[in-house]
């Protein structure tokens, strides 16, 4: 039974991946218009027939669609996500260069917002109806209503332009000659504003989720039992109640990741941060099909990977799942 379930899970994921790869190949090609001409139409240059034909052959657009798909699959299997005709570079290289920056931003903000969301959610629900809970709830709902884009612009105007504490853009000072610790400092100081923006836009979601599920948990009889046993308040809060309230939070990590990846697109664009979000923006504005496809494949794989990990670990965190089957 156990193996059957695993096999089923693997099959479902495999089919999802194949379907998404196919969709990913097909969708950009369904866009109306000649790919080569649209790539160059905004430019003040003249495309001769000779140049056009060379470009068509170079990008393999002269081959029938099924052949293009086969080539695409073979390349994909080799880790080759294609060649970006706009940026004259391997799409894999471009994505691999951008990915660490996005991961730095996403993972750090993910952890920070989770910590802040959990602590604030637990504390807020524990003081339900009190001054602290009510004001925090109003504040969080207010922040939740502001788009990440607006938060970013406010941060930029206040902390960068007005006070001059942080740089306006980029991931590091270009050609600063900084090395070692100075370089790390430079990177961190560039990280502060995009990270704060992304984190702040994520905290309300985490907070509301934890607060709600805590409110349900603290009514459970085992909390009363724990109190009756004379266990310290903080221990009941975090080890008895929060641990149980944490479950729905954990299952939503996969979904939250997609939100963070979407959020990062806007934030990286405002702060010109050289990650996947900015690359996506560039790819779409230049109609760079291979790059758009490559980014989608990587994003899809990332989200699926996180989902697999959650599926595998969920029963470790909530052993009841194992018994349920």
């Amino acid at each position: 039974m156990k193996w059957n379930r695993k096999a089923k899970m693997v099959t479902v994921y495999l089919f999802t991946i194949i379907f998404l790869v196919f969709l990913n190949f097909l969708l950009p090609r369904l866009l109306p218009g000649d790919a080569i001409l649209s790539m160059y139409s905004g430019q003040e240059i003249i495309i001769t027939e000779q140049m056009y034909n060379e470009l068509v052959i170079l990008h393999g657009l002269d081959k029938p669609l099924y052949e293009q798909f086969l080539i695409y699959l073979i390349q994909l299997a080799h880790g080759d996500l294609g060649y970006s005709y706009v940026f004259h570079a391997s799409t894999t290289d471009m994505i691999l260069a951008a990915l660490p920056w996005t991961m730095l931003l996403v993972v750090t903000s993910f952890v920070l917002s989770a910590i802040a969301g959990i602590i604030l959610g637990v504390e807020s629900s524990w003081r339900r109806g009190g001054k602290f809970d009510r004001s925090l709830l109003v504040f969080m709902l207010f922040i939740d209503g502001i788009p990440a884009l607006a938060i970013g612009i406010i941060f930029l105007s206040v902390f960068s332009l007005k006070f001059g504490w942080f740089p306006t853009a980029g991931a590091m000072t270009a050609y600063s000659n900084a090395e070692g610790i100075a370089h790390i400092k430079d990177v961190l100081i560039h990280l502060v504003l995009p990270l704060s923006t992304l984190t702040l836009s994520q905290v309300p979601g985490d907070y509301l989720l934890v607060r709600n599920s805590m409110l349900l948990t603290i009514r459970e009889p085992f909390i009363l039992t724990a109190r009756a046993k004379g266990i310290k308040e903080r221990r009941i809060k975090y080890f008895h109640a929060a641990r149980n309230a944490f479950l729905p939070f954990f299952t939503r990590i996969g979904i939250r990741l997609t939100y963070v990846l979407t959020g990062v697109l806007f934030i990286e664009t405002i702060f010109a941060y050289p990650g996947l979000g900015f690359l996506t923006y560039e790819a779409i504005s230049n109609r760079d099909l291979p790059l758009i496809q490559g980014i989608l494949v990587v994003s899809v794989l990332l989200v699926l990977m996180v989902n697999i990990i959650i599926d595998l670990f969920y029963k470790k965190i909530d052993p009841r799942i194992e018994y349920a089957h």
């Binding site: 109306p32 001769t48 056009y52 902390f159 306006t168 900084a178 100075a182």
Partner: protein, 582 residues
Amino acid sequence: MANIKNILIVSFVIFSCIFTPVICAAAENEIRIADKTGDWGHPSPYLAYGRGPGYLRMHFIFDTLVWKNETSDFVPLLAENWEYIAEEEAYVFNLVKNAKWHDGEPITANDIVFTIEYMKEHPYCWVVLDSVDRGEAVDDNTVKIYMSSTYAPFMEDIGGTMPILPEHIWKNIDNPIDYTELDAFIGSGPLKYVDFNKEHGTYRYEAFDEYYLGRPEVDQLIYVKTGDAQMALQRGEVDLASIKPEMAETLTKEGFVVIGGPHYWNKKLMINHNTEPLDNVTFRQALAYAIDQEEFVDKSLRGYGIPASYGLISSESKWASPNVPAYPYNPDKAKEMIESLGYKLNNGMFIKDSEPLEFTVLVSMISVGGQSTPDRDGEILKNQLEKIGIGVDLISLETKIIDQKVINWEFDLAISGHGGIGGDPKIIYDKVIQVPGTKVNPNTARYDKCEELNDLINDLLHEMDPVKRQEVVFEAQNVYARELPAISLYYPTSYYAYNPDAGVDWFYTIGGVSKGIPIPQNKLSLLVLNTNKGDIGDIVSGTQTPMQTENPAQATPLMPFLAVFAIFAAFYIKQYGGNRKQ
């Protein structure tokens, strides 16, 4: 409790590290330019992207034979002097004697001959060499370029645009668009290539000490990618940036020099002149009378622009005809003209044979210099045409889809735009008829119904006598404005601002850099010989007061550190107090 103390100490150390100033050794006389896109390709002829900013990244490293100065006159670069020999249909260029490649090799006439051959074999998107037959090295410093047909725009299109390649390097390169080795960046320009970082969108150049026109004024030139270029300029992160028109005054007060760009980009109305009644000249003229250009400028550009000339060539160009027919806003006249074609007004709408007069108008975010610009052109046009009795169905689509629809003639009217209207008048030829052997450009009217116009645009391409050519160009504009294959609407004004203390006085080039790039980054700004700093562009401010720019590296963000520390302290005290009560 020990745990919380530890956390406090660790966070204190971490935050202190983060917020202490980053010490970086800034190079002497370093110029930084902001760019929102960042990556415009490797700064080598075949690798830089085929747009203006891509060409500019490359032009610092690779010199051409001649170059346009601020007032659009050709000044010597690799060619010291030149002449056209009409009998032989050939140009003779005498090269400067002391010119060297960045690797120290001398530049000879053979390099020019080689470049022509190489670019004929490997087409280069900025230069079409169909009009050139061959190049011939007369001696080491003299090259003769034979034409296959007379070609009036030669100096601008080829002489001032074709980057000269070092033969000793490029003769071994079979596939130029894949070649990114270091020697692909060896040129003869005032700056040498140091680095290009695709990921961060940054470029770094350094002065070429042995440059034949003298060492440039700057030691380093750096392009940085910015989110908000203007903010980066105000913060002192960069020295030159494009700015929003509304900010011109504020920046002037802050001590920056703001330069308003010349008007070499036009928004225009594409017309499907293959369908009735748009195939009728009188009807197109009626449309022009019905359109109020001023309203477009006021509402779409918030006043930061000027109405366009109907003759396609920019009204600020030295080629602009003094007597281009104009169509001042006159809705009554427009109605009369439409009625003269058999249309009747019925309930405020024109009808003919019980068919209402209706058009579909395609609109999109038009990309100007790589940036999409939102505007209200579609709505304004709809209101203006409906006011005189023409029904309008406004369709908003993605730019590329509109381009395709225009190419396939699947439209009535479409709002489009392009630059290059301040440079060589050859633009009329390019934008009126379909250039043989090239793919359809969606901004080209493909209008060949007027013999007179066909002859004129053909003549302006081949007339080598400057005075006669000027007459032809004037006449071509007049006929263009009469025939109206498309209707130019307006020219937006773009603004750049720079820090005067950085040591470079940037300027807009009349007609645009090279083939008409309307960006004030002409490499002559970096050279001492630059004598022609005239009155191009509208210098909004010229205050030379020292600016109060704060070096970002020196600004210690003490406040955020204290704030974070205070939060931790508050948390600690709260926890500590709570525990004591228990």
